[in-house]
Structure formats: C-alpha cells, structure tokens
C-alpha cells in the first residue's frame, strides 16, 4: 500500500507539471484559489474568455481532452494520466468548468454515435474550447424522469422538425452546439419513442432564455424550439433508440473519477482556525470542534475513496462502485457547512456580497448549494442508483412503463 507514482506515472507527472508551470495563466491563480462554490471572481477579466484561452493553449500543445483519441483532438492518454493531469492542473482546472458538459457528455456521445465525418469536423473544436456544447435533455415535465420529455421531432423530407421546450440547460446561452433528446413517437411506451440529435444552437427557431436562479445568478437556461429543422444526418443512433443513446451520455456524466467534489470543508476549517467567537477562538470551542471533526472525516473519506478508484485505474482495473457516493455526500455537506459558517457569524451572517465576512464566500456558497443537490441527478436519484446498482435492490415499480406515452396522465389533480 503506497501513494507513489509508477516510473511512467512519475514521468508523465513531471512533463505535465513543467508544461503547466510554463503556460498556465498565473495572474489568475490567487483568484481561482480563493473561489468556492457559488463564487468564482476573476478581477479585471471575463472568466469565459480566460477559460477559452487556457483551453486553446492546452489543445495547441496536446493537453486537451487527454482521454480522447488524437484524431478527435485528444491525447490518447490512459485514465490514470487524466487523473494525474487534473491533480497537476490544480486551481486552473476550475477554468474547465464551462467545458464539462461538452467534454464529459456531448463528446463521448458523439464519439459513440455520430458519423465519422461529423466526428472529425465537430470534435476537435469542442476539445479546444473554440466551440462550446450543451446538453438538452431535461424538460418542465421530465427532470428526474427524463424519459417523460415532450419535445416533438417530426420527419419532414430529409429533415426533422422540432417543437417544444427544454429547461435547466447549463451554458446554453454561450453554447454553439447541443445534443438534443426528442420524442419521435408518442404512441409507444415512453422509453421507446425517443430519438437523439445534435444541432447548431444558432439554427432558426432556437430561443435561449436564461433562468434567474434562487441564488440570483444565471447558469441555466430555458431553450425553446419553434419549427427548428435538423437534417437527418445529425441524428445520433437509430430512430426510437434515443433512450439507450442518452444512457451513454449519463454514464459519462457520473463516471468522472478524480474530479474534485467541493465539500466546503477546507474553507470552513481555515475560517474556524482564525475566527474569534465571543468566548475565545472558534477552534477551541467544543461544539465547533465536534462539527468540524464530523465534516473532516466525510471530506477525508471522499478523498480516500477517490484514491482507491485512482489506484484501480493505475493498475488498469475498473474502479468499483464506491465512487458513486461522491456527489451525494458532498452536495448536502456543502450546504450544511455554509449554513454553519453563517451561524458562527451571528446576526452579521445575514450580510452578503463584498461587505460580508470573507467577501461573502459562505453566503454565496449557501445560496448556490441547493442546486448541487439537484443538478446531474437529485440526492434521491443518487440514492436509488446506489440502492439498485450497487446493493442490488429492486427497481421502482413504474406504473407508466408499458403504457403508450400519450395515455400517461399529465396532472396529479383534476
């Protein structure tokens, strides 16, 4: 048992570290280190532009989308090399956040289902960040129940005509392309009538409206489709096979290993280490210490769970299911951590923004936190996944499974 790199891993790490040392945008390092959930501020710079510039720089030197094949803009690296890169990229990795959906979900879906010429055309600029992609799955009538979506695609000659509405689409307002899950046959059970496409977000009839979130910020959007035409050659997978195609996308979303999940603990521990309460230093207060200890072991438990998965990758094995706990644990934890940090501030905790303690770090965290427990699978969906796929418990009884989609009730009352 050890934490040492193999000789090849050490060599890769040294190469990556040297390149990052020479090329990363260091002027933003301090700002990135100080950022936390809900609050990433780069002084005197537009984060989107900084992120795109960093991604392009990486791509030009062969450091973008490490695990993708070279012909599609990647490096053809092993999974463990990808993890080592993430470790070395450190705070600059936060600049990749706007590419996560494109690189982690859209790209792999295109790789598995797009025509070869499309892969060669679309994937390299996706890898280099020149083009940004979004994923158009969720709808007002289908969040956790994605297969309940209603956006229609109807064949018209060589095109498909799209009408409907998507919601919670991250980054749609700055995306160039998207992958789109639609209903092509409402007369069969819901999982069987779906078809996947990719489309140009500048197509006529696409309208993006940012959603003002509970936090006040706008990361997500509603996207409306009015008679949007998509050529049939942009279909991904067979007609009616969209559910299986989307599973590929979602599996990729949840399999990101080594990607640091934010727990808020390092921020809280640092804060408590210097905070003075009415009766003395916070870190010497019994109640504070007990809270900190409980969160400390969750944070370290997640860290070493991830190390176990990385070790499996290092040996060329498939990691076990234990990594599936990450989002579930971190999501509610960061919410609790933020709540507690404000509790320690007393009445002053109510002040947010630049005038607040630590320029409002924990206030911003508190307001952003509810979203982390919902996006990418709610806590409840994550528990279902653990219960069913890891523990082998029965799936939910799905009363709409064998019913034609257009016969499923649409309202709970009246």
């Amino acid at each position: 048992m050890n934490f040492d790199d193999t000789p090849q891993e050490a060599e890769f790490r040294a190469t990556a570290r040297a390149w990052i040392g020479a090329n990363a945008p260091k002027q933003y390092e301090e700002d990135l280190r100080k950022s936390s959930l809900g609050r990433t501020v780069l002084r005197n710079a537009d984060i989107l532009e900084v992120a795109k510039a960093w991604q392009k720089r990486k791509a030009d030197a062969g450091w973008a989308c490490l695990h993708w094949p070279k012909e599609y803009g990647g490096r053809g690296s092993s999974p463990i090399e990808r993890v080592i890169w993430q470790q070395e990229e450190g705070p600059f990795g936060q600049l990749s956040r706007m590419f996560i959906i494109g690189h982690g979900m859209c790209g792999p879906t295109m790789m598995a289902f797009a025509r070869e010429e499309h892969k060669r055309t679309y994937l390299p600029p996706l890898a280099s960040g020149e083009k940004v992609w979004c994923q158009l799955f969720s709808e007002p009538a289908g969040g956790s129940d994605v297969a309940g979506l209603r956006t229609r695609a109807e064949k018209d000659g060589d095109d498909w005509v799209i009408n409907g509405q998507k919601i919670w689409t991250s980054g749609a307002h700055y995306s160039d392309y998207g992958i789109l899950l639609t209903r092509t046959d409402p007369t069969v059970p819901k999982h069987k009538g779906l078809t996947m496409f990719f489309l140009d977000m500048k197509s006529p009839g696409v309208e993006v409206r940012p959603i003002k979130q509970a936090s006040g910020a706008s990361d997500f959007n509603e996207v409306y489709f009015t008679n949007v035409r998509i050529p049939d050659h942009q279909r991904l997978g067979e007609v009616g096979d969209g559910w299986n195609v989307s599973l590929t996308t979602l599996m990729n979303e949840r399999s990101a290993i080594g990607a640091a999940v934010s727990t808020g603990f390092p921020e809280l521990f640092e804060y408590c280490s210097s905070l003075m309460l009415d009766d003395g230093p916070a870190i010497e207060d019994r109640a504070v210490r007990s809270k900190l200890a409980n969160w400390a072991v969750k944070a370290s438990g997640l860290k070493y769970t991830s190390m176990r998965a990385i070790s499996a990758l290092s040996k060329g094995e498939r990691p076990g299911p234990e990594n599936s706990i990450g989002k579930l644990v971190a999501g509610s934890m960061i919410q609790d951590v933020a709540t507690y940090a404000l509790d320690l501030q007393g009445a002053a905790g109510v002040v947010s923004g630049e005038d607040a303690e630590l320029a409002g770090r924990f206030q911003a965290m508190l307001l952003r936190a509810p979203g982390t427990r919902v996006e990418g699978g709610t806590d409840e969906i994550m528990r279902n996944i653990i219960a069913e796929r890891v523990l082998g418990l029965p799936g939910d009884i799905r009363v709409d499974k064998d019913v034609p989609f257009n016969k499923i009730p649409t309202r709970g009352r009246g």
């Binding site: 048992m1 050890n2 234990e322 409840e380 418990l393």
Partner: protein
C-alpha cells in the same frame, strides 16, 4: 499509486473469512452471548493455529512476522463474524504495548504466549467514567506494587496479564504516568466480572492491592506510549468496525430482498432503499478512512495520529449507523433475541466506547489537524 491491499493480503482476508464462516457462525457466537462460556476457547485455539494471533508479531518472538496490513484484513473479518474472543484486547492493546515499549525479556515472555494462544492480555486504563487522560489515572505505583481499581477492563476476567496505567508522580503533567505489567494470576489482584452491553466480549473490574508489577517502558513515558497504543488500536478496531458495518448492511439488504409486505419486496420501497443507500455511504467513507489509517500504521508515518482519529470516528459512526438501521429494516423481528441484529448493535455500541468516546476522538482529531497545519 497503489492505495489498496496486495493480492496476498486479499487472499489472507479470504482465508480468514472462510475460516471464520466455518468456526464462528452466529450459532457459535450465541454460546458466549447466552453466558455459557466467557469466550470461545476452540475458536481462540484455531486462530492461534492459523497464525492469526501473531500475524504482526515478529518471528523472533514466535509470530508470523507479517505486518499490520495483514492484521488489518484479519481484523475486518473478526468484526464481520462478531467473533467472541479477546482478540482486540490481547492483540491490538497488550501485544502492541509490548511491541512499542517492552524489554527483550518481556517480549520473550509474553509475545510467543500470545501468538500461540496460551496467554490472554489486556490494557487496564480506565477508572470509571471519563476518557483517556492523565488526570483520570488515580491508581498508584510505588515500590514495585500497584494500588487502585480499574474499570472497565476489556476481557479482564479471562486475561492472564495486563498492561496497567499507573500514577507515579503528581506534577500534573503527562510525565506522571507510567506503565506496568502485571500477572493477573498472582496475588494482590481481585477480578470481578461486569455485565455489559456486549456479552460476547467481557468487561471486568480489577482491584489491585499491593499487586506486584514490573515497569513497562521508561518511567514517566507511560502516557506517550499509551497514546501510540491507542492510535494503533484505533486503526485496528476501525477495521473490525468496518467489517461489522458491512455485515449489518448485508443483513439489512438481504432481509429487504426476502421480506414481502403490501404485496412487494420491502426493498422496492424508497424509504428502505434510501436508508440502505445511506448505510452504504457511511460504510464506504469508513472503509476509505480506515485504509488511510492502515497505510499510516504500516509505514509508521507521521500522519498516524490524524489518520487514526479519522478512521476511529468514521468507523464508529458507520458501524453504529449500519447496526441500528439493520434492526429498523428488519422491523419487529429485528428486535427479537432470536434474530442476530442485536449482536451487531451491541458490538457497535460497545466498540464506540472502548478506546474512549466519539467526543474524545473528535477532540483529538481537531488537535492533531491543528498541529499538522502549524507544522
């Protein structure tokens, strides 16, 4: 990076599981639970024959000379089987104290006897309520004899010898405490069995009246030795707790799959599924923290104090969480003597206290994290 046990160590774990499945069935555990014998003597003998008792004891002292990682995988299986033997007191506490501080003669006398199953050892630290702290040690040592009362002493009623923490000074500092070895079968020792939460592991009150004792380690260094013994034991106990938590989770899962109510498997209800998913989360966090503790223990790393405290807290929480919710999944049947759920509930709650309470270890963890940050 290779943050995992080796194939050989995993094989040893499989071997231990197979052995314990055969020799330590719930039925065998119940013989001790029902008070028919204080511990499973046959199993103890078998563990010695398998080489498990001395797995981390060097060959020159009669052990297998493997190491602490090997001991960790065996500990996990002991916890999973809820083994009714004085393994933790003898192997994690007494043997580790001897390995850290024993003279050559002391090691030669006791370690081979531990490895062969002939001697049961324990640590006599607590004196009533309270957590490990020098000020709580009142028993005195003077002129080669001990006077005072220790309680609770794990496996005290069946132990042949004890490592005893005693007061040898009154300066109010850690240096007031020294350790001693006492032959419990000699004069001046009175032992009284205590009923306790977990009858599969005894607790005793031991009264020392001018009991003969020999020093273990340098006088005045007792507290620093004890601290290291408790850290090592925290990691090893954490593996027992992880084994117990996993078993409790499996029992709950299996019952949820078998039991039908309202016309369906109860494991198909989200209330049950989510409870079991949360148990899996606790057990996984505990396992990962314990692995880190195992790494620190086996490499004698400077990180051991922090790693041990984290493993201790995480594993204690996980075992308690899984054991209590295993009963909940079972419903009324889980609350019967006949079902095995309560054995794990008892063990989980007894283990949560044995090396000092959760609150104590939380406090330790924060102290140690601060020390590391300051360094």
């Amino acid at each position: 990076m290779n943050f995992d046990f080796s194939d050989d160590q995993k094989q040893l774990r499989d071997q231990a599981r197979k052995f314990l499945t055969e020799k330590c069935s719930p039925k065998a555990v119940r013989v001790v639970l029902d008070g028919k014998t204080p511990y499973d003597k046959e199993l103890w003998k078998g563990l010695a024959e398998m080489g498990f008792l001395g797995v981390a004891i060097p060959e020159e002292f009669g052990g297998a000379g493997a190491g602490h990682l090997e001991l960790c995988v065996i500990a996990e299986e002991m916890g999973r089987a809820n083994a009714p033997v004085p393994f933790s007191s003898t192997v994690y506490l007494a043997a580790e104290a001897l390995l850290i501080a024993g003279s050559d003669a002391q090691k030669k006398k006791w370690l081979p006897a531990i490895a062969s199953g002939e001697a049961i050892g324990t640590l006599a630290l607590f004196e009533g309520k309270g957590n490990p702290a020098p000020k709580n040690v009142k028993l005195t040592a003077a002129n080669g004899v001990l006077n005072g009362v220790k309680k609770p002493v794990p496996d005290g009623a069946i132990a042949d010898f004890a490592v005893v923490a005693a007061r040898t000074g009154s300066s109010g500092r850690d240096g007031d405490i020294s350790l001693f070895l006492v032959d419990l079968k000699a004069g001046g020792v009175e032992v009284k069995s205590l009923t306790n939460l977990d009858p599969t592991r005894g607790q005793a009150e031991i009264t020392f009246k001018d009991a003969k004792a020999e020093p273990l380690g340098v006088a005045g260094e007792g507290w620093s030795i004890l601290t290291e013994v408790l850290d090592r034991a925290a990691v090893l106990c954490a593996f027992e707790q992880v084994g117990g938590a996993d078993r409790a989770l499996e029992m709950g899962r299996d019952y949820a799959l078998d039991r039908i109510a309202f016309g369906r498997q109860i494991g198909s209800f989200q209330a049950i599924k989510h409870m079991l998913a949360d148990m899996y989360v606790s057990a996984t966090l505990a396992r990962s923290n314990s692995y880190y503790g195992a790494w620190a223990l086996s490499t004698n790393a400077a990180e051991l104090p922090e790693a041990a405290a984290a493993a201790r807290i995480s594993a204690t929480q996980a075992f308690q969480h899984c054991a209590k919710n295993n009963i909940q999944v079972h419903g009324g049947m889980g609350f019967t003597w006949e079902f095995d759920c309560h054995m794990y509930y008892r063990r989980a709650n007894a283990m949560a206290l044995g090396l000092g309470s959760l609150t104590y270890w939380e406090d330790q963890l924060i102290d140690r994290m601060r020390k590391k940050n300051a360094a």
